[in-house]
């Protein structure tokens, strides 16, 4: 450090520090709002707790359909036994949208080949967790899917 004979910091050193601090503070003042600007404000749209996935007559055993559940895709499967099951259609591996494969009688993800059984359990491939399970209720002709 540049010090004077009396051991005090020189005026020049002090001004250098002041200038350095000023530059850092100026940079922070410029960058902070820019970085903050990129943060996405919370969306206020409420997520529905249940949706109508379709009509009973549109389904036959050993078939599946991806439908919209709020902002996310969900899948309704009419199993080979004729039972209706619904899950989140978002693959737990890397968020691709899964589909029902009648030939395999399994739920399958085309992106990385993940396979889930008809209870939504991850049984082969890279998915680390089962699919989120939804409740299915039939009211008249309508199939209503709700989050459990």
């Amino acid at each position: 450090m540049n010090v004077t004979d009396t051991g005090k910091m020189s005026r020049r050193t002090f001004l250098d520090y002041l200038l350095g601090f000023g530059v850092v503070a100026w940079l922070a003042a410029v960058l902070y709002p820019i970085i903050d600007y990129f943060k996405v404000p919370p969306q206020t749209e409420p997520a529905p707790s249940s949706v109508i996935a379709g009509s009973v007559k549109d389904f036959k055993p050993n078939s599946g359909k991806v439908f919209r559940f709020g902002n996310e895709p969900a899948i309704l499967v009419d199993t080979p036994n004729g039972k209706l099951e619904a899950f989140s259609a978002v693959c737990t591996h890397l968020q691709c949208t899964v589909q029902y494969r009648p030939d395999m009688q399994k739920i399958w993800c085309a992106c990385h080949g993940g396979v889930y059984d008809l209870n939504g359990r991850n049984i082969s491939g890279p998915p680390p967790r089962p699919l989120a399970e939804y409740k299915v209720a039939v009211k008249g002709d309508e199939i209503i899917v709700s989050k459990s």
């Binding site: 996405v40 998915p127 680390p128």
Partner: protein, 357 residues
């Protein structure tokens, strides 16, 4: 006195062009068995220029948005005069540019041109490759088709795997928690404004380093006397050869664009399943394929987390090659680095071939 020299004299009086003349005369390029690889830097630069020109042309019609992105690209390729050609060249050129940059990088790696004093040229080049890949990734989404939608979904989800900071960065990239048309707007801004600005600066710095330090000589020349070293002048010899290669590349581009026009595919539907046979662009294919092979859990760690972390570490080690290579005796051929390089090349080729099946 002819007209050209009058112009030159007029300019010289005002701007002292002798400095540029001096640089052009002094600059020379080593001639040896591997000097062919030197041309890939220039080819990458040429393809970048093609990208800028065709990108600006596409901007004249492209409209980001849920109801306009796909439709405007369809309009470009079906209605606009030569729109199909411009779009096809832009897509092909993007792919060739990444290929050229990758070849350039490996040639620098194997000729050890990254060694002292050219460490910063390597680091800036690595940054340029990363920017190229980001260019490719962000541009891929813009036509808003099924393939690009799912590629973006998977690609941004990979970022979220990084502990603590991953998820906030993913949300910033996606402009929300999911890939929506808001993501499209963000990627558009990134692709046409942010990335070109950063890329131009880094490219300028990269070229400045090369200009200041001169073109790297092969390791085998270290102990040769100056008289045994064979050089050609950069201007006009190397430049003319480079321009000839640019012309060939332009012809290759035109042939590819005309005979293999880039497909537009189907419009993205966020509530449809991912289509069969989905895969990313070829330059991400080896990583994509590797992630397929990772099991769901490895020692209670999610397979994808481990896979992505390994790629992160490998990328960092590759970036830091001038650092760890320098730990070997100076002037040594460092066969370990060669074997690692060959291993990396083979790994990428094999996994890409498996992924492309």
């Amino acid at each position: 006195m002819n007209k050209e020299s009058k112009t030159m004299r007029w300019l010289n009086e005002r701007y002292n062009l002798s400095l540029i003349e001096h640089i052009a005369q002094e600059k020379k390029v080593p001639q040896f068995r591997g000097s062919f690889w030197y041309y890939f830097g220039g080819v990458s630069l040429f393809l970048f220029i093609v990208q800028v020109v065709t990108g600006i042309l596409l901007l004249m019609y492209y409209q980001p948005g849920a109801q306009t992105a796909y439709e405007s690209v369809r309009f470009i390729v079906t209605k606009v005069e030569f729109g199909w050609l411009i779009r096809s060249i832009h897509s092909w050129s993007a792919n060739l540019m990444i290929l050229s940059v990758i070849i350039h990088m490996f040639s620098v790696y194997f000729t050890k041109a990254f060694r002292r004093p050219r460490e910063l040229t390597w680091y800036s080049g690595f940054l340029l490759l990363a920017l190229c890949l980001t260019f490719g990734f962000s541009g891929y989404l813009l036509p808003w088709n099924t393939l690009s939608y799912f590629a973006t979904k998977v690609g941004t989800e990979i970022v979220a795997v990084v502990p603590v900071i991953g998820k906030p960065i993913m949300e910033i990239l996606r402009n929300g928690s999911d890939v929506t048309t808001a993501t499209l707007t963000r990627f558009y801004g990134l692709h046409v404004a942010v990335l070109p600005a950063i890329f131009t600066v880094v490219l300028g710095v990269h070229l400045l380093f090369i200009q200041v330090q001169g073109i790297s000589e092969p390791e085998s020349w270290k102990d040769l006397p100056e008289s045994k070293k064979n050089h050609i002048p950069f201007f006009p010899n190397f430049v003319l050869r480079d321009v000839l290669l640019w012309l060939i590349v332009l012809n290759v581009l035109a042939i590819l664009a005309v005979y293999f026009p880039w497909e537009l595919g189907h419009k993205a539907d966020p509530f449809a399943p991912a289509p069969m046979g989905i895969r990313p662009e070829w330059y991400f294919l080896f990583m994509f394929q590797s992630l397929k092979f990772f099991p769901a859990k490895i020692f209670s760690i999610d397979g994808e987390v481990l896979g992505i972390s390994l790629f992160g570490v490998a990328g960092l080690l590759w970036f830091l090659v001038p650092f760890w290579d320098s730990k070997t005796p100076k002037g040594a051929r460092n066969r370990i680095a060669n074997y690692i390089g060959i291993g990396v090349v083979l790994y990428i080729i094999v996994l890409t071939a498996i992924g492309a099946r």
